[in-house]
């Protein structure tokens, strides 16, 4: 031990005050200050969590507040009047009446011409005609332009109730209230309705209901639904996934396993990283220029003769949207797939190669299965992003108002976020409620897709891991 080391050693073992440690009141203030600093950080971190939770609660509150509430409905003829006139008991509601009485109600209130049109589309009874005479019916069924009702089965009760709603009672929503108002100022609302709409009835209404999910888009808020948008969203997501996943994973495998570290590949890598941050509307411009305009023959299906000219979306189709969104999420899929490939230990590759496997055999049998859960996580996240993406689809040309369901990759389409956007921009208050209901549908769809994808991934991971 040198002289200097010796001195240090001795210093270290001298009593406390010589080490410069504080004691007494000085020590207490120091500890207090340290604890205060820790406390400040604790409060700040906790605060950010609370802010996040509050934001989530606010979102849910808005949706629930808009999605349910009281409405004031005006009927041309009130259902209770119909029951009074036709029913055997006053206590029943319209839906409880038997089918023959419902048909009587309909026959009473609509013109014979309209009745014949309705019956020619689909009959009410198998053994009885309501608006036709048997001779007229046989004449109508003969010849080339026979009625559809000649072959179709008879209408069910639900269908007849719908006809009554459309043609007899004709409910018309004249005012809507949000859930909170409905709950806490019911009396004021009824007062207001009495003054403004004496004929209207106040009733509870849930904007999220089965009809909302199964109806196509409509300009009448009570009849509007999201079936077209749900199908459009699913089609676009499906096309995006089947295009982006193989290309993205393939590119990631090349970059991670095969590419050598040269200038070109470094430039490629940098560009992919940057592309992941490009605003989505720019991809929309790209999609419009390339997929909608330049490749119109392919995206409209005209080259394949898949669509007749009247139905084509002129390139503004599910396929064009899917391709655009696939470009949008490609960089994200590539980066996440690279990340998970990189996390596969190198010993796995070496072990495979040392057994005499080719590079591809090793990648296919050991590297890919190990990286798959990570790759799938990245893909699921990007697919979720696709489902909520709006801006590029607006540019690519999603239809804002469309009532026909997409039937294939060459159909015109709309998606849930577009539908939602279009509804919020309308002045009528009913559409705000519809928008809230559409958000709920979108969230449920998103969670369902995510949950099933995660379930599949976990099954996959258990099988290989």
């Amino acid at each position: 031990m040198s002289q200097e080391q010796h001195e240090n050693f001795n210093k270290y073992h001298e009593p406390e005050p010589h080490l410069g440690y504080p004691s007494g009141p000085q020590l207490n203030t120091q500890i207090k200050r340290r604890k205060r600093r820790g406390w400040i950080w604790y409060v700040m971190l906790m605060g950010s969590l609370i802010i996040a939770i509050l934001a989530l609660i606010a979102l849910l509150y808005t949706i629930v507040n808009d999605g349910f509430g009281l409405i004031a409905v005006e009927y041309e003829i009130e259902p209770s009047q119909l029951v009074k006139a036709f029913g055997d008991s006053q206590d029943k509601i319209l839906e409880e009446l038997p089918t023959p009485i419902l048909v009587d109600i309909l026959a009473e209130h609509i013109s014979p011409g309209l009745g014949r049109r309705i019956e020619s589309e689909q009959r009410f009874f198998a053994d009885e005609l309501v608006f036709f005479t048997p001779e007229q019916w046989q004449k109508g069924c003969a010849g080339d332009s026979a009625y559809a009702g000649c072959t179709l089965p008879v209408r069910d009760e639900e269908n007849i109730l719908l006809l009554i709603e459309e043609n007899v009672t004709v409910p018309n929503v004249v005012a809507v209230w949000k859930l909170m108002d409905s709950l806490f100022s019911r009396a004021d609302i009824e007062q207001e309705v009495l003054l403004k709409y004496p004929a209207a009835k106040v009733q509870w209404y849930s904007w999220i209901n089965w009809d909302f999910i199964t109806n196509p888009q409509s300009s009448v808020p009570e009849l509007a639904g999201v079936r077209t948008a749900i199908l459009g969203s699913l089609w676009v997501v499906f096309i995006t996934a089947i295009i982006a996943f193989p290309i993205g994973v393939g590119a990631a495998i090349y970059l991670e396993e095969y590419a050598t570290d040269n200038q070109l590949n470094r430039i490629l890598q940098t560009n992919i990283n940057n592309l992941a941050g490009v605003p989505s509307i720019i991809y929309g411009m790209l999609g419009l220029a390339v997929f909608v305009r330049a490749l119109e023959g392919i995206t409209s299906g005209a080259l394949f003769g898949a669509v007749d000219a009247s139905a084509t979306g002129n390139g503004r189709t599910v396929l064009a949207a899917g391709l655009t969104l696939a470009l949008l999420i490609l960089p994200i899929i590539i980066i996440s797939a690279q990340e998970s490939l990189r996390s596969v230990p190198n010993s796995m590759r070496q072990g495979g190669m040392a057994l005499g496997a080719t590079k591809w055999q090793t990648i296919w049998a050991h590297v890919l299965p190990n990286a798959m859960p990570g790759i799938l996580t990245g893909t699921i996240l990007s697919i979720s992003r696709t489902l909520g993406e709006t801006a590029p689809l607006v540019v690519v040309g999603a239809s804002t108002f469309i009532t026909t369901d997409p039937t294939g990759p060459f159909s015109k389409f709309t998606t849930l976020p577009i539908q939602f956007y279009q509804w919020t921009s309308r002045p009528q208050p009913e559409f705000q409620n519809l928008a809230a209901a559409a958000i709920v549908v979108l969230l449920i769809l998103l969670l369902t897709l995510n949950a099933s994808a995660i379930y599949l991934r976990n099954r996959f991971a258990r099988r290989t891991g």
Partner: protein, 148 residues
Amino acid sequence: MTTLTATKPQTYTNGNSSLAVEAQNMHVYYGDFRAVKNVSLDVPEKAITALIGPSGCGKSTVLRSFNRMNDLVSTARVEGSIFYHGQDIYADNVDPVEIRRRIGMVFQKPNPFSKSIYDNVAWGAKINRPLAEVTLPQERDCTEPQLS
């Protein structure tokens, strides 16, 4: 790091078999660093040859050079010549995968694949099937984590 400098060692063979692997004046570099200097080594056929030395002296590097596993390290470079039954394994027309199919290697650290035990054992035989016609026994339902 110490370097392994070897003259031809005494080898004990089980008779009159010929050489399986023969290294002549082999140097292995990682980038500019010379990890193994001037190794000449005869590995006889049908015999066990042990390579002994302190940690980090280059035993693994020498072994990895024998089945071209060093090709997988981008900075590694082998000078000199290594013969497998008289064939220079670093010749231009030699396929490294073919070399590794003939010269297997077991690593110091056990390295199970995340598959069943059966697949771990059988995989090497499966991928080398054209080389030697192997008959694999019946697969048993026994995954790796259950054994550990």
